[in-house]
Amino acid sequence: MDRIEPKIVPLGESAVVVEFGRVISEDLNQQATGLAKYLAENPFTGFVEAVPAYASTTVFFDPHLLYPADGIGGSISSSIISKINDAINTMTTGDAASAAVIDIPATFDLESGPDLEFVAAESGLSIDDVIELFTSSSYRVFMIGFLPGFAYMGEVDDRIALPRKQQPRQRVPKGSIGIAGRQTGIYPLESPGGWQLIGRTKIELFTPHAERPTLFQPGDLVRFVPA
């Protein structure tokens, strides 16, 4: 397959960022999550953790276990980068076997979705049309970040893709469903937030004492089911 060489650069002395690309795409996301999975299953000495994002993977390691760097004049980072390049050439990409289709029952009304009216007005649609458009698609989980269990999902129909609020809310209730550009997400905990809120779910996204503490993982497909 014709692929651009990923760019691998240090993020301080105990992490490197592997950038596969700069756009939201399923293929780039599969490479990012594929690398994270491969490294977790085939860790190099000093490996701590790999965090996949939209089109990049950040790899954390403990440089103290690798000091002094092997080779002549090389840095620990450069030896890590060559190990990661080897991993990229060996790994197979694709979504995790455990990736699932997950239905999220949710309420879409003015109380649970305080920005529904704004989204409807801005997009020139009725509230019912906004809900219909939003719930008729399924959304890929691209990455987990921001809060424990917060999934960045996409892509939202262009007609209802609106930017974040100018002034973020101090308190977004737990379970709120929001839109930011072509992304959608659900707040697993009460937190400040700037996404346009259109609904709410009672499903727990974050189960702190479970072996896998988050409901979603990259590659999952999420469907919203109006309650």
Partner: protein
Amino acid sequence: MSIVVIKEGMLSTVQDLGRVGYRRFGINPGGVMDRTSTKVVNYLLGNDADAAVIELHFPAGSFQFEKECVFAIGGADLGAELDNKKVETFTAARATHGSILKFRQRRDGNRAYLAVAGGFDCERWLGSASTNMRAELGGFHGRRLRASDRIEFAASAESRSAVGTAIGPSLRHSFASPATIRVTAGPEFDVLTAVCEQRLFESTYEISRHSDRMGFRLSGEPLFRLNDSEMLSSGVTFGTVQLLPDGQMIVLMADHQTTGGYPRIVTVASVDLPVLAQMAAGDRVSFKLITIEEAERESCELERSFAFLRFGVRNRSAGVL
């Protein structure tokens, strides 16, 4: 086997070196702001580097010991007094049953670490006692300490370090402001214009009021980007310096989010992160660019001196020194 909060402090939380290995679930490592002081004060007491400590900010409130123990305070000098007698920082001291620990005035630094021999016994979540206040988990019921909270000691283990043992100056960092903070180039360093790259290393920046355990916002000469292309969210770490749309910077600190969507222009070298972590609003910093090799060497040298300290304390208690 415990210590009780008599008077609530400004922000007192149980922390350790953090919750490592769960960033991919959006769970941030958290942990202490000043990792060097925490490791040093723990080693001084014969503890593991990762033993739970209480991170204090001035005014730090007061505590009562409910059991005789050996304790020490690392990091900032907040004018600690035990039963009205001065307690030097980074010095092992004995508290008796009923002793009262107070903090009179802030002299140097902004975050002090109260450690007891054996560590504190707190709620561990995903392997760490660090307090995650957002998720309300870990540490003391996932929240800051309040009056009448009782924090248990982990073990009755007598300190391996003799009372009076102190840490020499080589493992204490400076509290001077302005401080020169060493940084390495970040993944998006090249978004800066040449003029702004120069400005970044020639200007002095002030830590703004809008600074907390999540991040320190800096104010100073704004920096401009070559272009305004949107960036996809990607991994960040403790010490990542992001360039915000208004041209100002934010340094991500212990409670930062796991991912971010602003250009990561530089990363604070881990050896200088504790120096920055001891600063507060109004303090000033300048940045010096170093290579990743230098940052690695400095970090590994510091780790070696921790190993010497640990051995020194253990051997001393065994009567070897």
